[in-house]
Symmetry: C2
Subunit: 422 residues, 2 copies
């Protein structure tokens, strides 16, 4: 029998313990051995929890228990779980974690510390979707050229509702908070940071590239409004928060931001709280993985798949997918300014003669040519909303053009820019 200790018995931890009990026969047949949760650690022992396992409030009751083979870390946070996981590894226990923040900062340290001791983290990205395994194993013959992930269910739920029901951002955020999809402080989700953590994990498996959240471009969905939604609808786009990795020669561009993307693309069809990750490999072409990105049982499904894999054979593939360092291509993180994209711009301007000409001239000065232009009639105060989409241009140029436009006294608010994903 394989004995498991869970540190952090919240929704996911309780699901892990309960599923291992409920599907015990099946899981034993698949793993070859019975797997049993023998101890759980919680911070607050007096809170009632729906599990049949002995609970303790001391992590050392799991970490120092010589009977425990596998430690499941579900604490949340970064430095405290890092220390817990290091102790577990020092005590020769395999580790399974769902903690994307921990991995966003410490995945390479952990890989080195672990050596041959297995660390599973399928649950850290896109919940129940086995995307880690797909990248590490299923697509291992490929140079990965593109990853496009909808990996934050809160944002996708909000954007889908804004698109389908014409609801405003503030209203839908309140609704998401009432439903428990968004936290009281929603920044981690709506600001793109959660998706960025997940992207960094995938990028390590795809490219062997080490980067931290502060190294990459992260923009959230806070500025999207119904003007953008109606523009998107009119021109056949969905608006999605995408986590993007692109390989261009030896440059790896990693970024999280909202995009306009044509509705016929498979990734644009993923709606509501669901997650999806599209991966393009140089040989296989596009494959896409869709499913629930959160929820106790769905996340526990991924945690347990790691446990079963460890029981079956230890860790078959190396933690981050590379058995040896991969430097032959000298891959490096692209600068934020090197993005090349089409862009959508929204601005509010005085509704008077010559305004359009001024803006068009500035764009032209920065070598930006316009693909689509839409001016809505001025609603009040003689303020008109201008919406435009550009042809492909350099990020540096669009940023500079926006700064120049924002300096005009005819501009009423900041310019909102959304990248268009081709």
């Amino acid at each position: 029998m394989i004995k498991v200790g869970i540190i952090g018995v919240g929704t996911v931890g309780a699901s892990v313990a309960n599923i291992l009990e409920e599907n015990c026969d099946l899981i034993t047949a698949r793993a070859g051995k019975e797997i049993k949760v023998v101890k759980g650690v919680v911070s607050n022992l007096s809170k009632k929890r729906d599990v049949n396992i002995p609970l303790s409030s001391d992590v050392n009751d799991v970490l120092d228990d010589p009977e425990i083979d596998i430690v499941v870390e579900l604490m949340g946070g970064v430095e405290k779980p890092y220390s817990v996981v290091k102790t577990a590894l020092a005590n020769k226990k395999a580790v399974v974690t769902a903690n994307k923040a921990l991995l966003a900062y410490h995945r390479y340290d952990l890989q080195e510390i672990a050596g041959d001791i297995p660390i599973g983290y399928e649950a850290s990205v896109a919940g129940g979707i086995p995307i880690i395994n797909a990248l590490k194993v299923g697509l291992s013959a490929n140079q990965i050229t593109d990853i496009k992930g909808i990996m934050n269910g809160t944002c996708n739920y909000m954007l889908t509702k804004m698109m389908n029901e014409g609801v405003d951002y503030a209203e839908i955020l309140q609704e998401a908070q009432d439903l428990g999809y968004a936290e009281a402080d929603p920044t981690f989700d709506v600001g793109g940071f959660d998706a960025a953590h997940k992207l960094l994990i995938l990028a390590s498996i795809a490219y062997g590239i080490d980067a931290k959240p502060e190294d990459i471009l992260i923009e959230g969905i806070e500025n999207i409004n119904q003007d953008d939604i109606s523009f998107a609808k009119e021109f056949g786009y969905a608006i999605k928060l995408l986590a993007i990795a692109k390989k261009i020669d030896t440059d790896i561009s990693l970024r999280v931001h909202p995009v306009l993307i044509k509705t016929e693309k498979m990734i644009a069809k993923i709606d509501g709280v669901m997650n999806g990750v599209s991966v393009i490999g140089d040989k296989v072409g596009e494959t896409l993985y869709y499913g629930p990105g959160a929820g106790g049982d769905a996340t526990a499904s991924a945690v347990i798949s790691d446990i079963i894999e460890i029981v079956r054979a230890g860790q078959s593939s190396p933690m981050l997918g590379f058995k040896k360092p991969f430097n032959s291509e000298n891959l490096k993180l692209a600068s934020k300014e090197s993005i090349n994209s089409e862009y959508y711009l929204r601005m509010q301007v005085d509704d008077k003669p010559g305004v359009l000409a001024k803006i068009a001239m500035i764009l032209g000065d920065y070598d930006i040519s316009i693909d689509t232009f839409l001016q809505r009639p001025a609603a009040q105060n003689s303020v008109a909303t201008l919406l435009c989409a550009t042809h492909n241009c350099l990020e540096k140029n669009i940023q500079n053009a926006i700064k120049t436009i924002e300096d005009l006294d005819i501009i009423k608010t900041n310019v909102t820019m959304i990248r268009i994903e081709g």
Copy 2:
């Protein structure tokens, strides 16, 4: 260095050899060792092939070569590759195969013969999509309740074209043949047999259930016409050839047939030659896997992923996903008659009074109630087309009702029935 021999160097075999060469540095880093194809076997040595490997026409040049670690079987057929794979295993060589027909008939024999010697077969189902690995590893915590697969690109291409362009079956079949998507004898694809082979492989991993193609319901797309397509469009359905596995209590229903399925379902959105597999697990809910189901490089991507996994760690999970027999639920194959579904019927009838009443009465006699009814105006010869969709009923009842209706002298052609997937 790991040495590979390929038996059958056609499109896929050539891609395997070439990708291992082209992505050599990357694959070596991921696998931990260099992997090299050292020999290929072909039936016709005089045919020019686009590979840089020594070729032979004798399988024993690979099977008996003590230097070769892994044999890749890409011959096609059933009994000949079965014998080749058995010899490879007897010679302690790991095997990777893309041969779904071989596995549809001999997967349990091979698992037993192989013992601890790895057999990889990711490429046998849905080409480049790592669905085998997802089921064996990613979803291993779950009771699988449903699998719905679009796993034949030829059929999906044809049905998509019929839907989007109003093309007739015969015309689109000819086009698919001209494009090389369909064989001169297209029965294996359009008759559903190819999808059935793949379904049986997935069902073994999901349920541990042994079944052969002749044990299950297999219907093709040959009878679908533009009347069906227009009915589907009018009521919000797509028409897809689905390979279906459903677990209802201890009954496992395995079947391949066309379905009407609501266009908002993710699986209904998979168009053209692409493949997709939706899997519902009791804990994770629905996950879906999308990608290219055929093509030299896409299939080779899956073949090489198996090779890399074998090089990394041998076979980490057991061939068919179960380390021990799983009998605790006494799962058994459901009878073909036990299906419970909604049904769509198309029939051509004399356009005269009382006809509709007769048909409605027969359906009522078999306890079948009608959900939707559409009668198109008679075009010529006073023959009218009746289209109807039923509420849920037993397969036995609809089959008997169809027989009774077909015996009426007012019926001009056989009744076409398509199941509606809820």
